[in-house]
């Protein structure tokens, strides 16, 4: 077994490198992929190792470049197309929703689309309304796409490898703050797409989280554990296809559920989860499922409002307390994740 400590960004980088080594048809491209910043380090070393043929930048043309990725995929290559912000994929929605998701079906199964669309999501540093979205519910809504949101370095590594090997289009969404997270990575470990992971076991309440919200949920669980309240944290990982069983089993056990999604709630993935859980755990739920997500406004720049915009461990704790009929935990001595000290400007 080859366990190594590494960051999430290195997990991403190594997954691409290993797939490129294993398969000459894999290539990585996108705006600024080969410049010295290397998509926050996640494409480091690739151009040196594999050359400009297999790792290159593009003009600012998201629509056509996404179509080019599709064209390459149906020609037998395996593109990894990278966007430094998911917000820019809005320029490519037509290719994604009218073409990529449909072409296999419209060809009666003749075309195969082994294509990975990587994109960075979520909070950076004063990123405001145009550099902070997640959009996984958009992609998951449309039949014909898989959608993945890894939280740990191991998942960054294993799920990216699985995504590259998958013969379907996979949207792969990486939270900006996760890039600095360190963890053990075992290169032998395969994480198949479509499986959730229990991050922490517990009996009192289930938090089902996506992406960064799992970090917040584990923190919340640690704090509540000190007063003997045992929270289970389920990391969805695969937004579509969804591992309903793991989630439903957890909620059937605990009888309480908070969905903590890294997105707006209205018509979002949290709505899907909440309705699946209500439907399948109808008799088991002691309280209605609660949903946490972004405030229903565009993301503001200024820090005090930005802090209110995003859901956090504190929201999870307060919601759990309410659901379980507990008095508010004293959070005075607790230290929460804050990017004031870890993550500074400008981007």
């Amino acid at each position: 077994m080859t366990q190594t400590m590494m960051s999430y960004r290195d997990g991403l980088m190594l997954a691409a490198a290993h797939e490129m080594e294993a398969d000459p048809d894999v290539f990585v491209f996108g705006l600024d992929v080969p410049d010295h910043k290397r998509i926050f380090g996640s494409t480091r070393g690739l151009v040196e190792k594999f050359g400009e043929k297999r790792c290159f930048g593009t003009p600012l043309s998201e629509d056509a470049m996404t179509g080019m990725a599709l064209g390459a995929a149906i020609s037998g290559l395996r593109p990894i197309h990278v966007h430094i912000r998911v917000d820019f994929m809005l320029l490519a929605m037509n290719q994604i929703v009218n073409m990529i998701s449909n072409l296999r079906y419209m060809s009666g199964g003749k075309l195969k689309i082994p294509l990975v669309l990587r994109a960075v999501i979520g909070r950076g540093w004063g990123q405001s309304a145009q550099h902070s979205k997640s959009l996984h519910s958009f992609f998951a809504h449309v039949p014909g796409l898989k959608v993945v949101m890894p939280t740990t370095p191991q998942d960054a590594y294993s799920l990216l490898r699985s995504a590259v090997r998958d013969d379907n289009p996979v949207v792969f969404l990486e939270h900006r703050w996760l890039y600095d997270i360190e963890g053990e990575v075992d290169f032998e470990k395969i994480a198949p797409l479509g499986k959730a992971a229990v991050r922490k076991e517990g009996k009192a309440l289930t938090v089902v989280g996506t992406s960064w919200m799992n970090v917040e949920a584990v923190k919340a669980a640690e704090i509540l554990a000190k007063r003997g309240v045992d929270i289970e944290v389920v990391d969805v990982r695969s937004i579509y296809p969804l591992d309903e069983e793991t989630i439903v089993n957890s909620v059937k056990k605990t009888g309480h559920c908070i969905v903590a999604d890294y997105d707006w709630t209205y018509c979002g993935f949290s709505a899907e989860l909440a309705s699946v859980i209500h439907h399948r755990c109808f008799a088991d739920l002691k309280k209605p499922v609660e949903r946490l997500g972004f405030a229903p406004v565009p993301c503001p720049t200024t820090r005090p409002l930005e802090n209110l915009f995003y859901p956090s461990a504190v929201h999870i704790i307060r919601t759990a307390e309410k659901m379980l009929g507990l008095s508010p935990t004293d959070l005075d001595g607790e230290s929460f994740y804050s990017y004031e000290n870890k993550f500074k400007g400008p981007f």
């Binding site: 003009p59 056509a64 179509g67 390459a72 009218n98 009666g108 199964g109 195969k112 898989k146």
Partner: protein, 324 residues
């Protein structure tokens, strides 16, 4: 003229394709009113010479992308009338088992890769196919056909920029009928000459009367020769007259947005009549052509009958072919 660039055998093969495309669409016109082909049809009558001529100049390994107005291209590349009518009738013997219909025909095994009913959307796909050719060291050209309306979409400009930047071997073919549905080019375009513009992108270029199959071939050969000498993209603009309404089997000259051509112009505007005239002038006997027409018509009638009798896809097909 024709004899200078086409052998007799080639000419007859081309005539056969012209007639094949034309008769297929005429058959659609006859049958469509029965409401058995439950798919919108964008007929290409008048423009058949463009895809037929262009692909005549290229080897069968050439990958092609097209639009919803794709029948002639499909038939030129595949001659597969069984699959064609199977798909239009929504039957299991269509290449997409009826899921695609007329607007999204695709037969990748014959390099007729993909078509789309959203204007301009297959243009960037051609970039990817051409990129894949370069990646693998293939010399093949990729073709992408689109209407004059597609040129207004941003994706078109992004695509020509990238094709030029990478010197990709793509033949951009504009099937220029001067209309986007009912709107004339002058109501949509802030420029006069697309060819002038692509020249600034260092494209090879050519243009001509798309109703004249011989001309289409002459111009295409010129340009593809340049592409082979020194790799790079090219744009061909071929004008043609759309004989029928935008979508559907009827004429619509009474709608008032354009004039019906004078009878004496038809001979010039109809690529089949025009090529036939040339063939006759070059000394070919009317009987030889008649024989081709008969053979083609029989083939088509058989395919239509086959399609009409073929089963629909079973219910479980609804869920097949989404993800692997």
């Amino acid at each position: 003229m024709m004899q200078d660039i086409l052998t007799k055998e080639e000419s007859l093969g081309l005539y056969r394709k012209l007639v094949l495309a034309r008769f297929c669409e005429e058959k659609i016109c006859q049958e469509y009113f029965k409401d058995e082909m439950k798919t919108p049809v964008h007929l290409g009558i008048g423009g058949e010479g463009i895809p037929i001529g262009v692909h005549h100049c290229l080897p069968p390994s050439t990958k092609a992308f097209g639009t919803y107005r794709n029948h002639s291209l499909y038939l030129a590349m595949t001659e597969d009338t069984d699959g064609f009518f199977g798909e239009l009738y929504g039957k299991r013997n269509g290449p997409a088992k009826g899921k695609a219909g007329s607007m999204h025909l695709s037969l990748p095994e014959k390099n007729f890769v993909a078509t789309s009913a959203v204007v301009g959307t297959t243009v960037p796909l051609a970039l990817g196919a051409a990129f894949a050719n370069t990646y693998r060291g293939s010399d093949d050209v990729v073709t992408v056909f689109f209407g004059d309306g597609a040129v207004e979409e941003g994706a078109f400009w992004e695509s020509i920029n990238f094709a030029a930047l990478r010197r990709l071997k793509i033949l951009f073919v504009c099937e220029d009928n001067g209309l986007a549905i009912h709107t004339h080019a002058r109501q949509r375009r802030g420029f006069k000459s697309l060819l002038n513009i692509v020249e600034a992108f260092d494209f090879y270029k050519g243009s001509g009367d798309g109703s004249d199959l011989t001309e289409v071939i002459r111009v295409t050969r010129q340009v593809t020769r340049q592409m082979q000498d020194k790799p790079g993209p090219a744009l061909l603009n071929f004008t043609y007259h759309r004989f029928l309404e935008h979508v559907g089997p009827r004429e619509d000259f009474d709608a008032g947005y354009r004039q019906k051509p004078e009878p004496e112009d038809i001979k010039r505007l109809d690529p089949v009549l025009r090529f036939e005239e040339e063939l006759k002038e070059s000394g070919l006997q009317a009987q030889a052509l008649e024989a081709i027409r008969c053979e083609v018509q029989e083939k088509i009638d058989r395919s239509v009958k086959t399609a009409q009798q073929a089963p629909f896809p079973p219910p479980e097909e609804l869920f097949a072919d989404v993800l692997i």
